[in-house]
Symmetry: C2
Subunit: 223 residues, 2 copies
DNA sequence: CGAGAAAGATACAGAACGGTCTGTAGCTTT
DNA sequence: AAAGCTACAGACCGTTCTGTATCTTTCTCG
C-alpha cells in the first residue's frame, strides 16, 4: 500500500510545537511560573488542542521531562563517544558540559529544577530524575570499568556529583568555567583510580565491546 | 537602665512567625507553589500583618533567603570548626552535610531551588546565591591554604562543586549516603593537594590565626 | 482607668491560574 | 457535494493568586 502521508516538509504537529514551547518556557521561567496560556501562545495552538493531547499540566510536565531527558542523554553520549579509549571518553565529559553551559539558552538541569520547585514528598518527579541520572551513571560506570578503575561504580558516583555540582553552579553563576574546575577534579579522581591518563604515550586499553555497544543502545529509561 | 522587656517566655513576634512559616513552606513546597494565605495560616498572623512588615512576596522571599543563608552559614562553620587542624576541619565538611541530609526536614538548598524556579534572566536571586556560596568557599579556601594546599582556591572551588552536587543528589534521592561518596572524592582531592591526612601521626600544621579568627567573624555577606 | 499602638479578622478587588465549553475554518476522504 | 476530522479561536467556569481596605480586639503603658 502506498503511504498517503503528505511527504514531510515543515509539517510540524501541534504536539511537537506544544512540547517545544513547554520545554523552552519551563526551562527559562520555571514550571510553576509558566501558565498554560503562555504555552499555547508560544506554540501557536489552541488550549483545547493541548488538553486533547495531554490530560493535565502535570501530564505535560512529565512528557517534557521524558523527552528532554532522552534528548539530553543522546546528546551527552554522543558528545563523549568520539574519543576511542574509555579514559579519553571520560575526559571528554566536562569539556562537553562546558560547551553546554556556554549556550545562551542554558538554564541548568530541568529535572533538578523541577524537583526543587515541587513539594518534596512528591515521588513521581524524583523517580524520573533518578532514572535519568542512573542511566547516565551506569554508562559512566561502565566506561570507568573499561578504563581500569578499581571501583568503577564509586568513581562514577563521584563524577556524577561533580557533574551535578557543575550544572547547578553554572546555572547560578552563568560561568561555563566551572566545568574546568569540575574537570580538573574529575581528572584527579580518574588518575587516582585508573592511573594517569598518559595523553601522548598511547596506553591502549582493551574495550571488550560492552561499553562501545552500549553507546548505541536504546536511550529510553526502562522502569 | 532596667530593661522593661517582659523577660522572654514564648513571646514570638509576628515577624518571626512569618519568617519561620515562609521558610518552612518555601523549602517544603517551593516558592511559587506557596501562597500568601498558606503562609499567614501557618504563621497564625493576619495577612495585613505580613504586608505591614514586608512590601511584597518577593521582599519576603529575599528576607527568607538572607536569614536562612546566615543561619546555614553559622551552622556549617560551627559544624566544621570543632576539629583542631585545618585539614581535620575540611574532613569534617561531608560528615556534617550527611547529618543535614538525614534530617526529615531536609529539602535541599533553598538558594539553588529558588534560582531554579525563577526566570533565568533574574539577577537578584542569583546574586544572593553567589554571595552565599562565595562566603562559604572563601572560608574553605582559607582552610585549604592553612592545610598547605598547593592551589587553595582551586581546591575550595572543587570541594564546593562536590558540596553542591551532594546537596542536589540528596534532595533527589533522599539518601544521606551521597555525602559519603562526595566525602571520599574530597579526601582524594585533599590528599592530592595537601598530602595524605595521616590521621594518627599528628602532622601539626601551623594555623596563623587567620582562619581561626575568621570562624568567629560576622556571618553576614557584605555587598 | 483610658489612650493609643499593634495585630487580629474579614471582606474585597483585580488578575491569573488550570481546565472546559461552544463554535468554526480548512482540509481530506468518499 | 456531503461528510468527517483536525485544529484554532475565544469566551467562560470555578478557584486561587497577590495585595488592600476596614473594622474589631487586645495589649501596653502612662
Amino acid at each position: 500500500m502506498t503511504d498517503p502521508m503528505p511527504q514531510d516538509a515543515e509539517k510540524t504537529t501541534p504536539r511537537d510545537r506544544l512540547m517545544d514551547a513547554a520545554t523552552r518556557l519551563f526551562c527559562k521561567n520555571g514550571i510553576n511560573a509558566t501558565g498554560i496560556d503562555a504555552i499555547v501562545a508560544e506554540a501557536g495552538t489552541a488550549k483545547t488542542t493541548l488538553y486533547k493531547i495531554f490530560k493535565s499540566k502535570g501530564d505535560l510536565v512529565e512528557a517534557v521531562l521524558e523527552t528532554e531527558g532522552k534528548s539530553w542523554r543522546a546528546w551527552f553520549l554522543g558528545a563523549i563517544e568520539q574519543p576511542t579509549t574509555p579514559r579519553e571518553k571520560l575526559d571528554a565529559i566536562f569539556p562537553a558540559l562546558k560547551k553546554w553551559f556556554g549556550e545562551d539558552s542554558y538554564t541548568g538541569c530541568v529535572f533538578i529544577n523541577a524537583v526543587g520547585e515541587h513539594p518534596k514528598d512528591e515521588t513521581r518527579l524524583r523517580d524520573l530524575t533518578i532514572q535519568h541520572k542512573t542511566f547516565v551513571l551506569k554508562h559512566i560506570g561502565e566506561l570507568a570499568g573499561a578504563a581500569g578503575a578499581v571501583r568503577p561504580d564509586a568513581l562514577a558516583h563521584q563524577i556524577g556529583l561533580l557533574m551535578d555540582g557543575a550544572i547547578v553552579a553554572a546555572m547560578v553563576t552563568r560561568d561555563p568555567g566551572v566545568a574546568d574546575a569540575a574537570g580538573q577534579a574529575a581528572t584527579a579522581l580518574l588518575d587516582g583510580a585508573c592511573g594517569p591518563a598518559k595523553p601522548k604515550r598511547k596506553r591502549t586499553v582493551v574495550l571488550q565491546g560492552g561499553a562501545a555497544a552500549l553507546a548505541k543502545e536504546d536511550l529510553s529509561v526502562v522502569e
